[in-house]
């Protein structure tokens, strides 16, 4: 496991206390898990993602991520509709470990409200939690 100082937390996105990041992208939000989370999990074997078209409230469980060590629920960073999921993760779950912020993205959300990210933590506040 990495030293907490080496955990990468990009400043272009926000985080919830359950280690899920959300980044604005053309009216939607893309979400995935943080570098801290993937590091804690170790090798990700399976990501259970929801069906597109489903709606979840902020804080609701939208799926789970499974590694050799454990299975962990994934909590919605904002309330909204799932408009897309990362199909690549079905065959390449390891992308969550190698690229948690880019290729390892998990869901694309159409948010219920205009500016929901304000309720989330910025990278500094999130780092303090770890």
């Amino acid at each position: 496991m990495s030293d907490k100082k080496n955990i990468i937390l990009p400043t272009d996105r926000r985080y919830n206390a359950e280690h899920v990041w959300a980044k604005a992208d053309g009216g939607h939000f893309v979400a995935g898990i943080s570098d801290f989370a993937q590091d804690q999990l170790n090798d990700v074997m399976f990501v259970d993602l929801p069906e597109t078209g489903k709606h979840f409230e902020s804080g609701e469980v939208f799926g789970s991520v499974e590694s050799v060590k454990s299975v962990n629920d994934l909590y919605m960073p904002v309330s909204g509709l799932i408009v897309a999921v990362n199909e690549l993760l079905a065959d390449r779950p390891e992308l969550v470990n190698s690229s948690p912020y880019e290729e390892g993205w998990m869901i694309r959300i159409q948010p219920d409200t205009a500016e929901p990210l304000k309720t989330l933590l910025d990278s500094e506040a999130y780092r303090k939690l770890l």
């Binding site: 074997m45 399976f46 259970d48 499974e66 050799v68 454990s70 299975v71």
Partner: protein, 473 residues
């Protein structure tokens, strides 16, 4: 004084358990069976499914040889040989039951039994001949059979019942299973292992939608299905299915049983449809209407806690009592023993309060006691803890990961109220949980008991430890 004579109609787990117990207690017993001894359990249920599962599990292991440092390639199933093995196991077990009947001097008669009165049963033999069996008491244990949906008549080729599924020598390329209960889910894993592309349609909002099955267990199972690319359509029912050019085209509509049904219809094509939506009573020709033995609106025989039907001297046990009493072989067996005792006026009462559930999916599931939803419904003040089985050394050593052990306990006393296990051998691990619940063991007591290491039984120990730690702050 001559012995009391008992006629048992139906030789499944309910019937033969009643017959054996009665014979051992000194009753003169005649067992009537229209098909094969062993009933649904031995001939078209528990036993054949488990033998198929053993073949499926062996097959799956051969695809993982490299993981265990072995060279070799995955095996190929020979379904005729798989079915042959199943039939051999069934023959062996039937032989065992027949031998026990002989040893206990139980007379066996082949034929369809009809109750004329508590003292007279008429049996129609396969050749049409009629025999009259005079006696003092009757136990009905005629069981149940697969429910056929309207418009989906079993043709045993494209529209299959669970009976058909257990005799398939050719694996359907695409299999649509209608009904995501225990039977549907078990067969989904078995057929996927043998090479079918499987999909399940379930009218409710989760798989294994039984009150006794905890939501976390359904969630785990659904995740395991996704890993195996077994599709499942929740909140949907089959509106219609048409067999054309050797395939089945099914239209799946939103389900009236769903709290959040999906929108619109879905078309699914398969090579075969397997219907596992429930069962109906096997009471044709039994003479219930003529003799006035009361049945409910669905035809299930009504019996009190002593297994007495509305006709004095006539008892009923097993599946024929319907889903309210738990349609399981172990329930039938207990009922059979209870009814046999009551034939000798022992006044025993059946206790349905703790019925273990064993589900042979992959991973296995073993549940007993209250689910979290049931605990909430009862307004209980409870605590819960879920332990991930992959944290056990034995699991890692075995190369198995998926599983949980969840304990629900009373918040003030710590008495264990429910245990829900998923993982390898969960169905065997369940017995400790049942014993703990029955004896009102507290989580704090369970952690005082050494559990051998490294074993899967440590899962329940760790779940109890987690519960105790969580609640001592």
């Amino acid at each position: 004084m001559s012995s009391k004579r008992l006629t048992v109609i139906g030789g499944g787990p309910g019937g033969y358990s009643a017959a054996f117990a009665a014979a051992r207690s000194g009753l003169e017993v005649t067992l009537v069976e229209a098909g094969s001894i062993g009933g649904t359990c031995l001939n078209s249920g528990c036993i054949p499914t488990k033998t198929l599962k053993a073949s499926a599990d062996a097959l799956e292991l051969t695809a993982r040889l490299a993981e265990f440092g072995l060279s070799g390639s995955a095996a190929v199933p020979d379904m005729a040989a798989v079915i042959n093995r199943k039939n051999k196991v069934m023959t062996t077990l039937r032989g065992g039951l027949e031998k026990t009947c002989d040893n206990l001097k139980i007379s066996r008669i082949s034929g369809l039994g009809r109750i004329v009165s508590a003292q007279l049963v008429e049996v129609t033999a396969p050749d049409g001949g009629k025999h009259e069996l005079r006696g003092d008491k009757v136990i009905i244990s005629t069981g149940s059979k697969p429910l056929e949906l309207p418009g989906l008549t079993f043709d045993h080729k494209h529209i299959l019942s669970s009976d058909d599924a257990l005799n398939l020598t050719e694996i359907p390329k695409r299999l649509l299973i209608v009904g995501g209960g225990v039977i549907g889910c078990e067969l989904a894993f078995i057929f996927q292992a043998f090479g079918s592309e499987v999909a399940i349609v379930e009218g409710q909002d989760r798989l294994l939608p039984l009150p006794s099955i905890d939501a976390e267990i359904s969630q785990l199972l659904q995740r395991e299905l996704k890993k195996r690319k077994i599709a499942f359509h929740l909140g949907r029912v089959v509106k219609e299915a048409v067999v054309t050019s050797g395939a089945v085209k099914a239209r799946l509509a939103p389900s009236p049983f769903s709290a959040t049904p999906p929108k619109g219809d879905l078309e699914v094509e398969a090579d075969a449809l397997l219907v596992t939506v429930g069962r109906i009573p096997s009471t044709a020709g039994l003479g219930l209407a003529e003799t006035g033995v009361k049945v409910d609106a669905r035809g299930w025989i009504m019996a009190d806690e002593g297994l007495n039907t509305s006709m004095p001297g006539v008892y009923a046990v097993g599946d024929v009592l319907g889903p309210q009493k738990g349609m399981l072989a172990h329930v039938a067996a207990m009922e059979g023993v209870c009814a046999a005792a009551n034939c000798l006026d022992k006044g025993r009462k059946m206790d349905y309060s703790l019925i273990p559930s064993a589900v042979f999916t992959t991973p296995e599931i073993g549940c007993a006691g209250l689910s979290e939803a049931q605990a909430k419904e009862h307004g209980l003040n409870f605590v819960r803890h879920t332990f991930q089985m992959r944290q056990l050394g034995k699991m890692q050593a075995m190369g198995e990961l998926s599983g949980i052990c969840k304990i629900i306990a009373d918040a003030s006393s710590g008495v264990i109220l429910g245990v829900h296990i998923a993982g390898p051998h969960a169905t065997d691990l369940l017995a400790e949980a049942v014993l703990a619940i029955k004896t009102k063991t507290r989580a704090a007591d369970l952690v005082e008991i050494m559990h051998a290491h490294p074993t899967l039984a440590e899962g329940i120990f760790e779940a109890a430890t987690g519960l105790v730690e969580q609640n001592t702050d």
